[in-house]
């Protein structure tokens, strides 16, 4: 048995097999990704949505933490200007998928979020696969599936979490304009096993997450303790 003490100055969780596939619980993925998003400068509320989205994607067989890291490191920060049938970035550059996903969720039952008629076009979304968790939530609320098409492919999202279609193509999209429409036919969705994480990705997310923490000091360390000896 080893009783080699860990390094007490070590910061945060370590993933010794960096590079290899690592199995994290969904709770860990959500928590790490929310902290990383906050560390990257996203608001606390949107950071919670980022954690939700990454955890959901892993549970549905897609490597959401890698996609989120790509997004956080490229930093598409545009929020949408919402209009009936058409959303576009408020500034130059693509839309932040977390802000856009959260806004799709907020506008789910409002006219600007309506998918009927010619559908809802959302222009230039960065890392668009990150929208799927939000669309799944909307599908539950609306009681019907949502068909999402993009240049070269299409996927279907259902409320119970089923997803089907050109998922690999969607994951590969750096930035894409999406068209969303209601979908009544049930997707023939095979069961998808949860996706593992990549060690190097986790290490980089962890570095971002550490941006939410405060470096230690003697005062900080001492003030949080018991003030009495533990060898009593």
């Amino acid at each position: 048995m080893t009783l080699e003490p860990n390094d007490p100055t070590a910061s945060g969780p370590s993933f010794p097999d960096a590079g290899a596939a690592v199995v994290l619980s969904r709770n860990e993925i959500e928590s790490l990704c929310a902290k990383a998003a906050r560390g990257a400068g996203i608001s606390w509320g949107d950071a919670e949505e980022a954690g939700f989205a990454a955890g959901w994607l892993h549970a549905h067989g897609l490597d959401g933490s890698s996609v989120l890291l790509t997004h956080l490191e490229t930093g598409a920060a545009n929020r949408p200007i919402v209009g009936q049938g058409h959303w576009r970035p408020a500034g130059a550059g693509p839309l932040c998928p977390i802000a856009t996903g959260a806004t799709l969720s907020d506008y789910c039952t409002l006219p600007e979020g309506a998918l009927g008629g010619g559908g809802l076009t959302v222009e230039a979304v960065a890392s668009p696969v990150l929208l799927l968790p939000f669309l799944s939530r909307n599908a539950t609320r609306l009681g019907h599936g949502i068909a999402v098409s993009f240049p070269g492919g299409a996927v279907i999202v259902e409320g119970a979490g089923a997803i089907a279609g050109d998922l690999g193509l969607l994951v590969a999209q750096g930035t894409a304009t999406l068209l969303m429409k209601p979908c009544t036919s049930a997707a023939a969705a095979p069961h998808r096993a949860p996706a593992g994480c990549v060690g190097t990705v986790l290490a980089r997310l962890n570095r971002l997450a550490m941006q939410t923490t405060v470096p230690p000091s003697d005062r900080s360390r001492g003030d949080a303790g018991s003030g009495t000896d533990d060898n009593d």
Binding site: P8, E30, V214, P215, G227
Partner: protein, 558 residues
């Protein structure tokens, strides 16, 4: 999935106490364990379902180093506590989360572990946060010895004597846990994957089971060491002494933010507790059995108060209040039930007028204790299936949202945050093992990385940002323009349907006591002998006076 809220309960004749009474830190910091506490819920289930317990592995050497397995075998599933015992130098013994080695380390395993499972756990569990466990594990924990009592008990038993009861009562446990991690931490099973199991549906049931089995381990290993030292003349712990030993727990600020981070859960815990009180107060009669149980609970409460020691000035004053109040309650019980139409309600109202918060909260526990048939089902409503990002209803109008905010957060809007004492502190997470800490804003670095636990100030800022927004606009439009308020807006919508979701005090005030948050949570666990070591650090005892697993086979205490 259970998400019973106060509004969904049958309305009792006597209403629930309002959140502005219940959700104050001073009252939460006076909480006592009740029959709805999580360890009581666990013990009732194990008894009623006839769970059986054994110890299939005991590979501990004469120095107390090795491994052991304790099994809890239920009607459907088996859980095993895997324990690793270490030889820890005194210099490394620390209860802080920044410790790196412990006297004993544990994992709760889902099923019966094979030798390969034990080897895998042995390579990871002793490292705690630096190791990895898997979805086959439900919790990860560690414990340190009470050095003085440990030595006294081992020496006494080795010499064939029983330990001194006064020494036992002065500490109350042989080992104290310093962290018990569950719910997907460090690779453990996610709550959502096991929450459907009836035995794990309630809050912290896996953690409570782990601690209860740990209590068995602490007495087994101390007897083992005494036998190794004393040979044939060594004694075993007398049952009456063994029963007085619980498992300690030592905890700092790591526990304090939990109640703030889990508003749905906090609401459900509090709402069920309040529902229990309302049901009892609504009773019109008092049966002979209820009186007998009340008197028995009162006697136990007095005994508990007498054996409860603390050197901390805050707790010394609170213990004085409690003992004085228990004397008043004793006198009042002489004339109970009397001729009031609602005798329990009359007793409660008397307490509200007469007793300190310590005494009122003790009276609360006493009132519901005789009424298991009436209140125990409420335990099923105490869990909450939480979403990492609770969906926001963006279609809600700004007017409706403002109305909820004004109603649920009037207490927060009354605070003047321009006064330095009202924003004197900030919650942060340290780089060191991600330990939550509390800093002084005026003199400490790091406030720019403040955690969003300052609910009152966040809601005041949200309220100010809403000024000027037309009533009919949807909340979605406001949040699109103000993502910085999304976090608090979500809480406000949760609070709309969950009146007990928020602690109604300023959590960054200069005079805020973190130990109040901790005592509330620990009382829900079932902790007794709350003993602060500072305003941010506390020791408690769990399972003191309860039966041991190996003595409670098939539901009967032996």
């Amino acid at each position: 999935m259970t998400d019973t809220t106060a509004s969904q309960l049958e309305a009792p004749a006597i209403g629930l106490r309002p959140p502005e009474t219940v959700m104050r830190l001073a009252r939460m910091g006076s909480a006592h364990p009740t029959r709805l506490s999580f360890l009581r819920v666990l013990l009732r289930r194990m008894r009623d379902e006839g769970w059986r317990f054994d110890r299939p592995v005991w590979e501990i050497d004469g120095k107390g180093v090795g491994r052991a397995v304790y099994r809890a075998v239920g009607p459907v599933r088996t859980y095993s506590l895997v324990a690793f015992a270490h030889d820890l130098p005194d210099a490394m013994r620390s209860d802080r989360v920044i410790a790196t080695a412990w006297d004993a380390t544990f994992a709760l395993f889902d099923g019966t572990p094979t030798a390969a499972d034990l080897d895998r756990l042995q390579a990871n569990v002793p490292l705690q946060e630096a190791g990895r466990i898997s979805a086959r594990e439900l919790s990860l924990s560690r414990a340190n010895r009470s050095v003085r009592l440990w030595a006294h008990v081992v020496e006494s038993l080795a010499a064939g004597r029983q330990p001194d009861p006064a020494e036992i009562d002065a500490v109350g446990y042989l080992m104290r846990t310093t962290a018990v991690y569950g719910s997907g931490k460090f690779g453990a099973a996610d709550r959502r994957d096991i929450a459907e199991r009836p035995e794990l549906q309630g809050p912290f049931q896996a953690e409570m089971l782990s601690v209860w089995l740990t209590r068995q381990f602490t007495v087994d290993i101390v007897e083992h060491l005494a036998a190794a030292k004393g040979g044939d003349q060594a004694a075993r712990l007398a049952p009456e002494i063994k029963r007085r030993l619980g498992v300690g727990n030592s905890t700092g600020l790591g526990m304090a933010p939990f109640l703030v981070r889990h508003p749905l859960l906090l609401n459900n815990w509090m709402a069920m507790r309040e529902a229990a009180l309302a049901r009892v107060r609504a009773l019109t009669g008092v049966g002979a059995q209820a009186i007998e149980r009340l008197r028995h609970a009162y006697a136990q409460a007095c005994e508990n108060a007498e054996s409860w020691h603390s050197d901390h000035p805050i707790q010394i004053a609170k213990l004085r209040d409690l003992r004085d109040d228990l004397a008043r309650i004793g006198a009042r019980l002489q004339s109970f039930p009397g001729d009031a139409a609602h005798p329990w309600d009359a007793l409660w109202r008397w307490g509200e007028e007469t007793l300190t918060l310590e005494g009122q909260e003790m009276l609360f526990a006493l009132l519901i204790e005789p009424h298991g048939d009436l209140v125990d089902d409420l335990a099923a409503g105490m869990s909450a299936e939480e979403d990492p990002a609770h969906p926001i209803n963006g279609a809600m109008s700004v007017a409706s949202f403002r109305a909820i905010l004004a109603q649920r957060y009037a207490w927060a809007l009354a605070i003047d945050f321009d006064r330095p004492e009202n924003a004197a502190r900030f919650w942060y997470v340290s780089e060191e093992k991600l330990e939550p800490r509390l800093g002084e804003r005026a003199t400490e670095a790091g406030a720019e990385r403040e955690q969003p636990l300052c609910t009152a100030r966040l809601v005041a800022e949200l309220h100010a940002a809403l000024a000027g927004w037309p009533d009919q606009r949807p909340l979605a439009a406001f949040l699109l323009a103000h993502p910085e308020h999304r976090y608090m807006a979500r809480r406000v919508q949760i609070a709309a349907d969950h009146p007990y979701a928020e602690v109604q005090d300023n959590l960054i005030a200069a005079d805020m006591l973190p130990i109040d948050l901790m005592r509330c949570k620990l009382a829900f666990f079932g902790a007794s002998h709350f003993d602060p070591r500072s305003d941010k650090w506390v020791r408690i005892s769990l399972f003191q006076g309860a039966p041991y697993p190996l003595d409670m086979q098939g539901g009967a205490a032996q």
